[in-house]
């Protein structure tokens, strides 16, 4: 089942998607919010989102800087698909695919009339090219509608440029606006399949309710003409000589007029927009020869909309292709990096197994022990790799509880002592005195520190007087806890400093997964903090993890510290 979601389109966590559920969700800077927004302009508890029947409602919770939906400050607002929510400097896109779920497929709502179909008696009454040279204003209606057309084009331009989770949603919003703007009864967008070239209904819109199950007739002859000539046309199904003949069957059913315009992209024709209007027979009798229908200026407007929509479709397809290529590249890199690292671990296991086998054959217990030590080390590597992958994925949620930071760091030091001894590295631990208990995710912080201490030991291995120092503290001014890991290794090249937190970016060659620092950063950011690095080439490095002391008095009053 497809769910509603919020996608961060601007902000620190750009690209992160939060799925919305039936229970109310809190949005804010505080770590205890279900949707954590890492933005200093966002209040600790800024807003809530909750489902009310079939809708999601966002409500501001007396935030300092307000909650905006589509640029307007709100107190409470029912969200619709495509709405943009701004909290501080963070922009979230609301998507709710399920809102369209009840709608039947566009193809089921459109009847593409075959060529020479007896029902297709449309004929072209006007055709216009895409070069929209300024036309002479022919009527008062046209003159009065000029500002309206500009306004429509502006709104369409806004609409097609608006972030959207799918092309269909974007086209639907554009078509709804178009049908309303040209006062059509119905409309549909037909797109050419990029592979087959086959024209297929994509979305439909209906301004005037029709008979249930009625399909919108679309003349294949007209569509083909538009695709071939690349001209916009206005058509009618009334023949010139029989238009007002009351005995004509068309007259009995009402006269249907349609406009069909090409969607001309930069390089190719993307499809057509087709709208129609039906004038009922009784109206025809009263109106005599003043039959309301589409005007030429409306055709011009539709041609302009067709062009804009085509460019939007083209951009969407480019972006889709680009994202697909990026995703494939990222997947390839992930597989390559992880395979490489796992291969190295297996190589180590193979070495340990070899020694065990040799020791068993020679009844040499010492060899068996050495072999087992190698196997055990690589077993830990696999464990850490899996934990890093889980932490980096969305599987792991921080488990906040009251704990003593010094104890967590002490556990890391104890765990890393054997590795430090093996690499002849002196591990110095300087815990701050009287550090108070605080609320944090001990397992997460443990992993964040472990990764950085591991890196530090690897960095100093082989150096003279190799030393790694770990300190803790609480800054009374900023009220932030900190853990610093310093080493006297070779330091980090300046241009690498910018990249070291990128996933799969490793300075350790075959020995690094490129996950460690990215994972540490993710965990510290989950706590509302940051990792800073101070390093100069040849002069060691100092990584400082700092995060704010969490408020132990839950803002909502409904959540308690575990």
């Amino acid at each position: 089942m497809k769910k509603a979601s919020l996608l961060v389109v601007q902000g620190v966590e750009q690209g992160t998607r939060f799925e919305l559920v039936d229970r109310p969700l809190a949005l804010g800077r505080d770590a205890r919010n279900e949707i954590r927004i890492l933005d200093s302009e966002v209040s600790r508890l800024h807003a809530t989102i909750q489902r009310v029947k079939d809708d999601f409602v966002v409500t501001d919770r007396n935030s300092s800087n307000g909650t905006y939906v589509n640029g307007t400050v709100i107190r409470s607002h029912v969200l619709v698909d495509g709405d943009q929510i701004r909290l501080g400097n963070t922009l979230l896109l609301f998507s709710d695919v399920s809102q369209d779920g009840w709608k039947p497929n566009a193809a089921d709502r459109v009847q593409l009339l075959r060529r020479h179909d007896p029902a297709d008696r449309s004929s072209i009454v006007t055709h216009l090219g895409q070069d929209l040279v300024p036309a002479e204003v022919r009527s008062r209606d046209e003159a009065a509608d000029s500002p309206h057309s500009l306004s429509v084009l502006y709104r369409i331009a806004e609409e097609v440029a608006r972030p959207s989770s799918s092309l269909e949603q974007s086209l639907q919003r554009t078509l709804d606006l178009t049908v309303a703007a040209v006062l059509a009864d119905r409309g549909c967008v037909l797109l050419s399949d990029p592979q087959t070239g086959e024209i297929q209904p994509q979305v439909t819109s209906q301004r005037v309710a029709g008979q249930p199950g009625t399909r919108m007739p679309v003349s294949r002859t007209i569509v083909d003409y538009v695709l071939k000539s690349k001209q916009g046309v206005r058509t009618t199904n009334a023949q010139q000589d029989s238009r007002f003949d009351p005995t004509d069957s068309i007259f009995q059913a009402g006269i249907r007029e349609a406009m069909c315009v090409p969607m001309q992209g930069r390089h190719q024709l993307m499809g057509v927009i087709y709208v129609d209007i039906t004038t009922p027979a009784d109206y025809l009798l009263m109106a005599q020869d003043k039959v309301p229908g589409f005007r030429e200026d409306q055709l011009r407007l539709l041609i302009a909309i067709g062009r804009q929509t085509a460019l939007a479709v083209e951009n969407h397809r480019y972006q889709h292709a680009f994202v697909k290529a990026e995703r494939l590249a990222a997947m390839g890199q992930t597989i390559a990096t992880l395979s490489h690292h796992i291969k190295n671990i297996l190589q180590g296991v193979r070495g340990g197994s070899y020694l065990i086998d040799m020791g068993l054959n020679d009844h040499n217990e010492d060899l068996v022990r050495k072999g087992w030590h190698v196997v055990e080390k690589n077993q830990n590597k696999i464990y850490n790799l899996v934990m890093d992958m889980l932490t980096f994925s969305k599987e792991r949620k921080p488990a906040y509880q009251q704990a003593q930071l010094n104890d967590t760091v002490h556990d890391v030091v104890e765990l890393m002592q054997a590795r430090a001894d093996e690499f002849r590295v002196e591990l110095i631990y300087q815990p701050a005195e009287n550090l108070p208990l605080s609320t944090f995710d001990p397992e997460g912080i443990h992993r964040a520190i472990l990764n950085i201490v591991t890196n530090a030991i690897d960095a100093v291995e082989g150096s003279d007087h190799a030393t790694v120092k770990i300190e803790t503290g609480l800054d009374p001014v900023s009220d932030m806890f900190w853990v610093a890991v310093s080493d006297n290794g070779p330091g980090i090249v300046e241009d690498q400093l910018q990249r070291i937190f990128n996933v799969f970016e490793s300075t350790k060659g075959a020995r690094g997964t490129g996950l460690g620092l990215a994972v540490s950063q993710k965990i510290i950011r989950e706590h509302g903090g940051e990792i800073t690095v101070d390093s100069r080439l040849g002069d060691g490095a100092r990584f400082t993890m700092a995060w704010p002391r969490l408020d132990d008095d839950p803002h909502s009053g409904s959540r308690t510290v575990a």
Binding site: H340, K343, N344, L346, Q347, G348, R350, G351, G352, Y354, L355, M358, L367, K370, G371, H373, V374, K377, N378, E422, F423, E461, G462, S463, D464, A466, P490, G509, A510, R511
Partner: protein, 134 residues
């Protein structure tokens, strides 16, 4: 003083020297890669009288050439720096280990990852039995 000089100084008494000093104890140097390779080679070769050392970091060629002249150098191509992989270490034979097949001189050997340790040990023993590569 560079990081590993003290390690190599400790080995001075038993290693062939640039100045012509001779010690027949075979010496295998592992450059970069994981410490597992060193651990396995040490466990197997040291009881047989072959000294195994591992080094990593910067300026490896200069540091190695200043102080020691190993008989066999095992280099992890996936991890080592370009200068460490292209340098010849005196008269030593080189065993290059990598994920991508790399052409090597007649006096050197290549092992593709993942390799079997008996294969690596056999290659080292074969090379130790050969005269110096120079």
């Amino acid at each position: 003083m560079d990081g590993l000089v003290s390690d190599f100084e400790a080995m001075e008494t038993c290693q062939p020297r640039k100045d012509g000093g001779v010690n027949s104890a075979p010496h295998v140097l592992v450059i970069d890669g994981t410490s597992d390779t060193e651990a396995v080679l040490k466990a197997v070769l040291e009881p047989r009288g072959t000294q195994v050392e591992r080094t990593r970091g910067t300026n490896i060629p200069r540091r190695v050439q200043e102080k020691t002249s190993p008989h066999v150098v095992v280099i992890d191509l996936d991890d080592a720096s370009a200068d460490a992989t292209t340098t010849r270490y005196g008269d030593s034979h080189r065993i290059l280990i990598g994920s991508v097949k790399t052409p090597v001189d007649e006096r050197d050997r290549f092992l593709a990852k993942p390799f079997q340790y008996p294969e690596l040990l056999q290659t080292i023993e074969d090379l130790l039995a050969l005269p110096p590569a120079g």
